[in-house]
Homo-oligomer: 442 residues x 2
Amino acid sequence: MSRQLHFNLFLHDTGHHEASWRLPESDPYANLSLAAHQHLTRVAEEAKFDSVFLADSPVLWSDPGRRPSGKLEPTLLLASLAATTTRIGLIATASTSYNEPFNLARRFASLDHLSGGRAGWNIVTTAGEAAARNFGLDEQPQHRTRYERADEFLEVSTKLWDSWADDAILADKQAGVHAARDRVRSIDHHGTYFRVDGPLNVPRSPQGYPLLVQAGSSENGKEFAAKWAEAVFVAQPTLRESQDFYADLKRRAVAAGRDPDHVVILPGIVPVIGDTEAEARELDAELERLIAPEFAVATLATVLGVDADRLRLDEPLPADLPGEDEIEGHKSRRTLIVEWGRRENLTVRQLIGKLGGGRGHRTFTGTPVQIADTIQHYFENGAADGFNIMPAVLPSGIEAFAAKVVPILQERGLFRTEYTGRTLREHYGLPRPANRLELISR
Amino acid sequence: MSRQLHFNLFLHDTGHHEASWRLPESDPYANLSLAAHQHLTRVAEEAKFDSVFLADSPVLWSDPGRRPSGKLEPTLLLASLAATTTRIGLIATASTSYNEPFNLARRFASLDHLSGGRAGWNIVTTAGEAAARNFGLDEQPQHRTRYERADEFLEVSTKLWDSWADDAILADKQAGVHAARDRVRSIDHHGTYFRVDGPLNVPRSPQGYPLLVQAGSSENGKEFAAKWAEAVFVAQPTLRESQDFYADLKRRAVAAGRDPDHVVILPGIVPVIGDTEAEARELDAELERLIAPEFAVATLATVLGVDADRLRLDEPLPADLPGEDEIEGHKSRRTLIVEWGRRENLTVRQLIGKLGGGRGHRTFTGTPVQIADTIQHYFENGAADGFNIMPAVLPSGIEAFAAKVVPILQERGLFRTEYTGRTLREHYGLPRPANRLELISR
């Protein structure tokens, strides 16, 4: 079979546009509603998407006045969604800086069992002082320290997932032996950040490990992705930048000794679909009108590392912004925004309008055929293995994408018409990892 | 309406008897099966039980050879079960020693939202060196230290659950204001064990707080229960001991300034049901035959704090066992077992036989009428507000209890025939807690 696209739906209550909750059609309580998430996931599963995904941070993320800001904990929400779905993958963000590896490795192994092999983990190190102050710290650990801890966190987690051999459970009722004791082993990890004896108290899960996903695209982030990630979410505003990122990350994976096909690259896109181009542009414009600038300026200022009063709505960005090296936050997002603003010579107001929709992700505005064409062009020109679909408005944005764009791509042979696999790894064409403890002990 | 019983089903894969997995009827993979847990929970919900409950510890709990020892993480498993149930309460154990309050408070608030107000938290401090060694420690914190941390953990958690006012969300689309910023507040907790700024990133949940449950009955445990617990699971082998515990804990609650009716006491019972007494006794005997003594001796030795070779199968317990003060583990379980063994002059083999069934909980063996009579007797004689039902074998034990014992109690007016409430607190007749930050700020 020829190479096919992969699609992930990035769940985000009423949509990725920050003003989407203000539309008449939107349920402003969708962020707290299991039923709303069940509906979105069902639409994506009926369209044969590979997965759905929930972002997260252990902190109140945005001004609660601005948009629905409360967020249900993603591993629990996905565990709920596992009960009412059968095929679609379930990817949750969780932080390596503010969790213990034993607890988190166990939660993902549990989600993988509960879902029959559909769990994925988007690994983040969590930027920001505010999160640190929810966990006893005065300030956040440095960017490099966070990534060193993340690397060791993954070492511990994979050891724990391997602590039960795949054939450990005998279930021998006659002999009265449930599991072979020599096939369940301590890990005795004594490292820089963690000491964990193990074994895990959950047997090896259907996928072995959850699908490992990563989204940071700073230098540290890309090195981490090249070593660990099997799927990568990325924000790149142009085709050329997507191609550069794609080629660079595949090269880094090869340099790390990995098969480049085992790192699936999924740029984020914000499809804004109209039956005509004019209709699509009208939806775009309506959303931009609904943005409240005072909230948006405050957020932009945080990302850029400056005081809000330095940003003037109808002027371009100040010339003397702090560099990527001077901030401890979302380094790559900061750089992307600054470069975008300067390249297109945007005022702060114009920049906010564009960011309100996609936060740096590419917005594809147009008819279903136009959007399908663009997706195909990226896919066939070294820019993407698939896409992280981030509809500006939900559920209508994914309903339109599923009903109008997916069938075009299926007709062109670019997207599956039925699931052929059972697990999330099978959907993405990724292998089930061998048990490393197994290899050592035999 | 006159006072009625409350029932909790203690979920435990193939049953609470350690040899239950060896019966021909048992699925030895039930511990990892969502479908098996869905079935048990459905049976309990159809019987109008108040709740189901999952125990837990962040460590491989027992010898994996002995019985199914892998356990899915309970908050995730209950989140899955929330999606396929509508009324029954969902109680998960979680440790205050090996979690961060921000993360755990958030998970319970999320479970409460996902389930429409059906979440409960069984608060444990987690005994044992093995658990400590999964979290970077050489040895476990002392019993008293663990309870001090638990107390502050609850302070932080309740502040976080109160950090959003109940009326914080305005969802004012016209004005573009989602939540009132002055109704979402930092908690700025700077204590001995924790520094947490908050606010939580989840709005106040349907129940305000999850139902707070506790099960330790050491001196520290009882003081903690008197202060915080709204439902208490307890193991007491005789009616007299249940009465003493019941009176003592209600007195302590009053001394702590609380309404004694707001502490619901639920002794654990192991019903072994037969259509005749002889049939019930035969099931008991069959289970006892299936216990593998070498595993059971090792576990007993751990609880008692002695080497396994000090215990001889056909002799009574040694006279010189370490006292409750000398062990750091499950103090009250240790004392209960020692007193039981000495009172009835049991050999180690006999003690293991009894513990294999109920681990110190009262086994009620008999016909449905006999079991209903005993339940009523406890309930009407100051020993219980209801029961934590721990069937020796699952699912058959809960199916028999639901089909044969529950209707007798319903006929006698002692148990509900329909749910009258929506939330777990309503099932147990407990109030929704007021928002404390609210009281301070107004």
